[in-house]
Amino acid sequence: MRNSAIQGLTIIGLCVVAAIGGFAVYRYLAQPSVIDQTACLAPEITLNDLNAQPRKLSEWRGKLVLVNFWATWCAPCLHEIPMLLEIQQQYGARGLQIVGPAMDDMEAVKTSAPELGINYPVLVGDTEIVTAMQALGDTLGALPYSVLIDANGTIVYRKHGEFDRDALQKLIEQHLPAG
């Protein structure tokens, strides 16, 4: 009887370990493709907005800035934007500012941005965007490309590809400005 109880507990223990192990493997395989987490100051970048007015990245210093490079021809970018709109809505009052530089022609972006309901500043350019991406650490030339810059202007995260919502929320919570 006692042996059966020990055997039963052992099996339950093994099941728990197996479940935890399986979940850990799943989390590892499902994690977003992060490039790195380099802490360095973001360079000054100037790009035109949809009114052809030059805007500097430092304009949003003091906020947590998520620079999300996108394009109207980039399906993963268009897929990610609705989630970013909700994130901006959710965290805007707590100091998050998403900025969306588009690698595209002005007319295409002027049409698409309102259709997508983008509620954050959209910047636009062609080679200027490529240069800006490279200045912010891009080595692949692929979109979407996102860079998270904290309130002090330090790059705290860079990533190609779409964000997982939970991972992005966790990241934002970690780096939101104090107070």
Binding site: I20, V25, Y26, A75
Partner: protein, 153 residues
């Protein structure tokens, strides 16, 4: 407890613990597709432009998980000036349903196009343009490359 039943329970627990990963496909997809985003020149390898048997041959190999848009591909002769290419034998490609762009034609392994010229004059230099994506990960901006044509006898 019967040891066989214990073993079965362990197997069941392992299967259950792996279920979320299987359900979202992360265990079933190639690692390089989901975990590593390639630079554009590794995602799409442009082959040397060849002139063979009176035909210009242009080829681009797409890495696993990457595809090229058919309608974004094009070739222009830079030299000799005024040489115009005839129609290519580019295949139709396969249909790809895109959530935003609808049905598009793509090439997943290799894009291969052969062109004839009106007087069988070989082009010396061409400019190609192409664009593609890594499935469900990223898209690459339109690319242009200038190629010197090699004659193959």
């Amino acid at each position: 407890m019967n040891p066989r039943i214990g073993s079965l329970l362990i197997v069941a627990a392992l299967a259950l613990s792996a279920q979320p990963a299987i359900a979202d496909g992360s265990l079933l997809q190639p690692r390089e597709q989901s975990d590593r985003i390639l630079p554009v020149d590794e995602a799409f390898r442009v082959q040397p432009a060849l002139w063979q048997n009176g035909q210009l041959i242009i080829g681009i190999d797409a890495a696993p998980g990457c595809y090229l848009y058919r309608d974004k591909f094009g070739v222009v002769v830079l030299a000799p000036a005024n040489l115009v290419l005839g129609k290519s034998d580019l295949r139709a490609g396969e249909t790809h349903h895109d959530e935003h762009f609808g049905e598009v034609r793509v090439f997943r392994d290799r894009l291969l196009a052969r062109y004839k010229t009106p007087s069988a004059t070989p082009p010396q230099k061409v400019r190609i343009r192409y664009q593609g994506c890594a499935e469900n990960l990223v898209c690459y901006p339109p690319q242009e490359r200038v190629l010197t044509v090699e004659t193959v006898r």
